[in-house]
């Protein structure tokens, strides 16, 4: 028997943020993630070739690695939330493979569907890995420093808001789940959608109200600690060390491998 969702209380599953010693430069993490995504998108073509099997295998290995690592709970939750998208991806892979003519073509269709699912799972794993190793605020600050050459004078407050906004996306999800639980607990039903579309008013109205209230409180809390003060100490980034170079080089190697396999 399974629970529907994690309890939303603040004292839910304890999580550790990246410790100072384990912190990586977010620019390196972001670059490695982008290279990995490029590798994933260029490897294989869903045509049952060896590169497809390599891609499928690597994606599932990546998912497994992330699942047992720090970002495991986050990835598991995301994978579960995206189940419908996975079905769509599998269907797209299946129907994109043409008509079924014989048993061999059935295997081809299965491989194509599996390939699309694996690629989506791989992308999700990369995303979970990215946000586990580089907090949104760090990412935003890294981007701000990169963009500094192009757009000098990008104020920290904007990048901070972007980072904090990313951080609050899961909180919105939790809030939504809380509201849904509260409404279901008094008898409102939400599935199937086409029969209970009206009930979604009971989710959207309170959700909107709570988001506005939360953003208002957050803004007040930020200002209470001098968010608008200038000048301010900029967040420190760890800088590029051998670990950062190693991660980026590994991602480059993966991209080269993917391109090579894709041509074979």
């Amino acid at each position: 028997m399974k629970s529907r969702r994690p309890p939303s209380q603040a004292h839910g599953a304890p999580q550790a943020g990246p410790s100072a010693g384990a912190r990586l430069d977010p620019r390196a993490v972001l670059l490695a993630a982008l290279l990995s995504i490029a590798a994933l998108l260029t490897s294989g073509n869903g045509g049952s070739g060896p590169s497809d099997w390599w891609t499928i295998g690597l994606c599932f290995i990546a998912c497994g690695v992330v699942l047992v690592a720090r970002a495991g709970a986050s990835l598991a939750h995301t994978l579960r939330a995206l189940w419908f998208v996975f079905i769509l991806a599998a269907a797209a892979g299946w129907f994109d493979s043409g008509p079924i003519t014989d048993s061999r073509s059935v295997a081809h269709h299965v491989t194509a569907a599996l390939f699309q699912v694996a690629r989506l799972a791989g992308l999700t794993a990369i995303g979970a890995w990215l946000f586990a190793l580089a907090p949104p605020e760090d990412l935003a600050e890294g981007l701000r420093r990169w963009a500094g050459g192009l757009l000098p004078g990008v104020p920290l407050r904007y990048t901070f808001v972007v980072g904090a906004g990313i951080r609050f996306v899961p909180r919105m999800g939790t809030l939504f789940a809380d509201l849904r639980a509260a409404q279901e607990a008094r008898g409102l039903r939400f599935t199937p959608f086409w029969r209970h579309a009206g009930a979604y008013l009971g989710l959207m109205v309170p959700l909107l109200r709570e988001i506005l209230r939360l953003s208002d409180q957050l803004a007040q809390a930020l200002e209470a600690r001098g968010f608008s003060a200038t000048p301010r100490t900029l967040p420190d980034l760890p800088g590029w060390r051998w670990r950062e170079w190693l991660i980026v080089l590994a991602a480059v190697a993966m991209l080269i491998l993917a391109l090579t396999l894709g041509r074979s």
Partner: protein, 669 residues
Amino acid sequence: MDNGPPLESGVSIISARHFGYRYRRQDPWVVQAIDLEMRAGDWLLIVGASGSGKTTLLRSFNGTVPQFYGGQVMGELWVAGHDPVTTPMRDLFQHVGVVFQDPAQQVFGATVARELAFGLESRNWSRARIDDQVEKVANIMGIAHLRDRVPQTLSGGEQQLVLLAAFLALEPKLLALDEPLAMLDVQSRQRVMLALRTLRASGTALAIIDHQLDAWADEDGGWSAPTGMSGASPAPANRTSQVVQLASGAIVRRGSYAEVVGALAGGDQDIVAGVRPPAVARWWRARFADQGSASPGDGALPGPDWQRSFQYPVGENQPPLTMFDAEARLRRGAPHSTRANSAAAQSQAEAGGSGAGPLPGAGQRHVGAVVVEWRAVVCTYAGGLVRSSARTGWFAPRPVDGAPALVVRGVTGAVRAGEVVAILGPNGAGKTTLLRTLNGLVRPIAGEVRILDQPVGNRPVAELARYVGYAAQRPEQMLFNPSVAREIAAGPRALGLLHATTEWRAELTTALGLDDLLEAAPFTLSFGQQRRVGIAAALAAHPRIVALDEPTAGLDAVGRAGLARIMQHLTARGIAVILVTHDAEFAAQTASRWLVMRAGEILADDTPDTIMARPDLLAAAAIEPDPAFLLDAQLARLLGRRPEGPVPDRSPWSAGGGSAPASNAEVNG
């Protein structure tokens, strides 16, 4: 420090002259004619009913009002030498910290360390200096072990400590806090109190809003400064403490704790202008003063013979405000009582018993068949893959600091119809998770939950809503209909019970005092009214089982009394009520049985009095015993016997001029 040298007592921190504020020009003044003076190291407790302007006054200290909300200001307000109306918040934050009600909505950092550093970064300190200060305050507050944790995933108590540490790092001249102890367990409360004393010892003035007066009874003195605080200075002897009572935005009473709270406690009402006197004072009055004349005159207490055997010194006719005072007074009366003890005991026996014991409508409540059963229930924190694999532990959330992944571990228990059962325990004990198993919001990975002799199994939550009414921590959050009547009818309508529950809903709205508000829009109501609408909406399907999660959080005295009456109304109709709470006093007054949890397990399942008589259990589960129980026990010790029978005032049914307690016959009916 950038914000000046250590504060000396005598430096003005708040100076208000006829200060007032309203959100719009056409609105009435929310705060009006406030005259207030505070100096470094002073302590101010602001009390009053919900809607009396306390929070708005607090928000004016750091400029949130009017800088965030606009509106109109009257008079003058100076905070640490700055006018918060015209001084930007980005400058004021160096001098004034304001901690709002819900800590979960004020933490935003990636880690606790970064949360603590944020304010210091706003002051443009060097990174090395920030790191030093963060380490220092983390050690002082005892949260160094949390520095790499994500603040949003901490318990409420830990979040409150992190917030306090974030402001402690800034070494403000004034720290204002809105209900800093709400929803905290005893251990967390003690840590927060210690942190506040640390702050005050370093010269910071404290302004605090709270409905629980008992917690602040000892805050009259100063404390020695902790080592390591650069801004700390020894607590001068002339630091003062004051309490102000607000009503309709104006100060209606001010003075020392003893003066203001003593005046509140000296009357003959349980709730005075929305404020409830300390539990000790209420107990005392119920035990002694309410037995007859409130003025002993010759020093002899009125009441039955055994109570009369206690003797006050003349002039001590005001009830005590602290446990210490109450116990001292009881001891002073003891020699006389000892002499009269045997006669008193005989008198009491003839009168059918009098003294501490089961509450009217609580301990003596007759109960029916079992309606809820937990059979070796096991639950985990998270969902999906994580939960399903929790048996193997492959993808279970990684424990941090030894925190358990299993949040409920083999709980077995039962609840009967007409019973009120309170689940108590420290934060993270698994109380809410256990409660949520009743209506399928959490499904156990092992064991079985049965309601009304049927397994919950995989039955949909919406179907279980027919039998289990569940009010989450903030039931007002889910309101969305244009009128109160439609809001309350939404659940029954969805369940196809609209007509079948017409009578019940009418009964419910009457019991909750909502009859005059049925056509009002829920969003236009006050907080207390919205809470009542939320509870009515949660219970509108006429459930046989009611589950309440922290129902007293944020409620003022009137709201608590109303809630107690609702619970009595439910149990009188044979409905089982299960509540999760940190409020031991409320639980002792309303529940006939306590389930004490810690680390996902049931430590005890017994009557409140039996549990409160076990200090080891209370310590293990971080429960603060009801003061009334402690004083009853002390009284019994002094009389050399264990009193029995009903206690006049421990039941909240009669609080706030509410309806009289239901008789057992009514309860059973």
